[in-house]
């Protein structure tokens, strides 16, 4: 119940930040438009842009509640409800964004497996949300967190796709799924990508919950 209320109010908060909404849509779109003549490049850049935008927005949402969360904990809210509610809201917002861009790519670009563009973008959202919240939990200041996310996405773009560095980065699954969707590689790439996304999601979500559980711990004093 509390998680649902937190999720609903988080979505309302985000929707009221008009400039943020414009940037949320505009940033991946700019990535896409820069190479729209190349279906593979533009779709991969769009996907990374979605992941980056969603992760950054989640980072800001998580950090914006630092003053409120301790009071909510004192009032009786659990860490799982607070963090889970926000992750749920951001996943819903990101899924809407991904669905819109999926439609755009399916209509405008000639890719080998257009249906797989949907899961490709969804994976980017599903990884981006807990990864953004994890960075927010580790780096309490927004500027530091945003720079850390920028570094991760830039390295993910630049690292050799076959190298170990690329494989240990959080958005590797999106690149791998991109190969499957755009270049019609073997189905093994799809399963590898989904497994990587599942492990990344689990680790990032678990670490976020653990860090917030520690930070928002309320001492259980004995009653007088």
């Amino acid at each position: 119940m509390t998680a649902v209320v937190v999720a609903g109010l988080t979505l309302r908060e985000v929707a009221r930040r008009r400039a943020v909404m414009v940037l949320l849509v505009g940033m991946p779109l700019a990535f896409y438009l820069a190479r729209r003549d190349l279906p593979g490049q533009s779709t991969r850049m769009l996907t990374l842009g979605i992941g980056w935008a969603v992760a950054t927005l989640t980072l800001f949402v998580v950090n914006a509640q630092r003053g409120v969360d301790p009071r909510l904990r004192l009032a009786g809210a659990s860490v799982t409800a607070l963090v889970g509610g926000r992750l749920l809201a951001m996943t819903a917002a990101g899924t809407g964004l991904a669905a819109a861009f999926w439609g755009m790519v399916a209509v405008l670009q000639d890719v080998r497996r257009p249906w797989a563009i949907g899961p490709l973008m969804l994976v980017s959202v599903l990884v981006g949300v807990p990864f953004g919240s994890l960075v927010g939990a580790l780096l309490p200041r927004e500027l530091e967190g945003a720079l850390a996310l920028l570094t991760v996405v830039a390295v993910q773009m630049l690292a050799h796709p076959e190298g170990l560095l690329a494989e240990v980065m959080p958005f590797w699954s999106a690149r791998e799924l991109g190969n499957y969707a755009i270049d019609a590689t073997a189905v093994g790439d799809l399963w590898k990508a989904l497994a990587h996304a599942g492990v990344t999601w689990t680790l990032a979500t678990g670490a976020t919950l653990a860090l917030f559980a520690r930070r928002l711990q309320v001492a259980q004093y004995p009653e007088p």
Partner: protein, 287 residues
């Protein structure tokens, strides 16, 4: 007809809150019935006429404290239950001592002021009382239901007052409608009627502090921890605030208020002076 305690309606919740506040069950039941009868006579329902049951229960208990109980149906709440006890509490961050040897006991129906110079650890002490910061030494005992009102912050900039009531109510297990109704009643006591659709960031500093106060009390805590909550209040609101503190005390709540305004101290029962520098020797002064 007597209210059924198993019923989830207004009379049952009102009766349960009266019992929780120390009223004898038989007397609580009689008071619940009287309140329902009063609403029926006025052609209204109890919720609309008297407000949320837990708030009206506290109001009624504060009124009853001056009236002797009828023989055979119990008495007023037992006064003086300890809500907070600090014994030799200290806090240090690495080598820097922030607090040392702090003792404080706050009972139901008491207001304690924490005073001291800037940086002497007043806010740290309040966070220790809340359980948000752990003391390095000493022991803390505290009642379970506690509300915290910080000096600033503590609200979500893009949410309206009503949405804050819903959020904090959900944390405490209140249904959204009941949380909003309770929040509006509490706001009215501070002469504030929240405007619909206005986010917290557009509120004036004083109004935002009113919101902070309401949120601290929304879940009906037994102990209120207030960190200079009157920042930005105008004179009228400042007086309303202290009237509210007295009402909380009369309703059997404990209040710890951090303040640096010495003329506030006439409202309080005890003063804890944390001195002029971090870790200074602490003096507790009963008034």
């Amino acid at each position: 007809m007597s209210p059924d305690p198993d019923d989830d309606g207004w009379p049952a919740r009102f009766e349960a809150e009266l019992v929780r506040l120390g009223q004898h069950p038989a007397r609580a039941r009689a008071l619940a019935q009287e309140s329902v009868d009063q609403a029926v006579e006025a052609g209204s329902d109890a919720d609309r006429l008297l407000g949320p049951p837990h708030l009206y229960a506290r109001h009624l208990v504060s009124e009853l404290n001056d009236v002797p109980a009828p023989p055979g149906v119990g008495g007023p709440p037992a006064p003086g239950r300890v809500l907070l006890r600090l014994a030799d509490v200290g806090k240090r961050y690495r080598r820097r001592v922030v607090l040392a040897g702090v003792d404080l006991t706050v009972r139901a129906g008491e207001v304690a002021a924490v005073v001291g110079a800037n940086g002497c650890g007043k806010s740290t002490l309040l966070r220790i009382c809340a359980g948000l910061t752990r003391p390095t030494s000493g022991t803390v005992e505290r009642t379970r239901r506690v509300g915290l009102v910080p000096q600033d912050g503590g609200t979500a900039p893009w949410l309206t007052a009503a949405e804050h009531f819903t959020l904090f109510g959900a944390a405490a297990g209140l249904a959204p409608r009941r949380a909003r109704s309770t929040g509006e009643h509490l706001a009215a006591r501070l002469s504030w009627r929240p405007a619909a659709g206005q986010p917290a960031q557009d509120l004036s500093g004083g109004t935002r502090q009113k919101l902070n106060l309401v949120l601290g009390e929304l879940h009906s805590p037994d102990l209120l921890l207030l960190d200079e909550p009157y920042q930005g209040f105008d004179q009228g609101t400042y007086l309303d605030f202290w009237r509210q503190v007295v009402a909380w005390r009369d309703a059997g709540r404990g209040v710890v208020v951090v303040t640096h305004l010495l003329h506030d101290l006439r409202h309080v029962d005890q003063v804890l002076d944390l001195g002029s520098r971090p870790g200074a020797r602490v003096a507790a002064v009963a008034r």
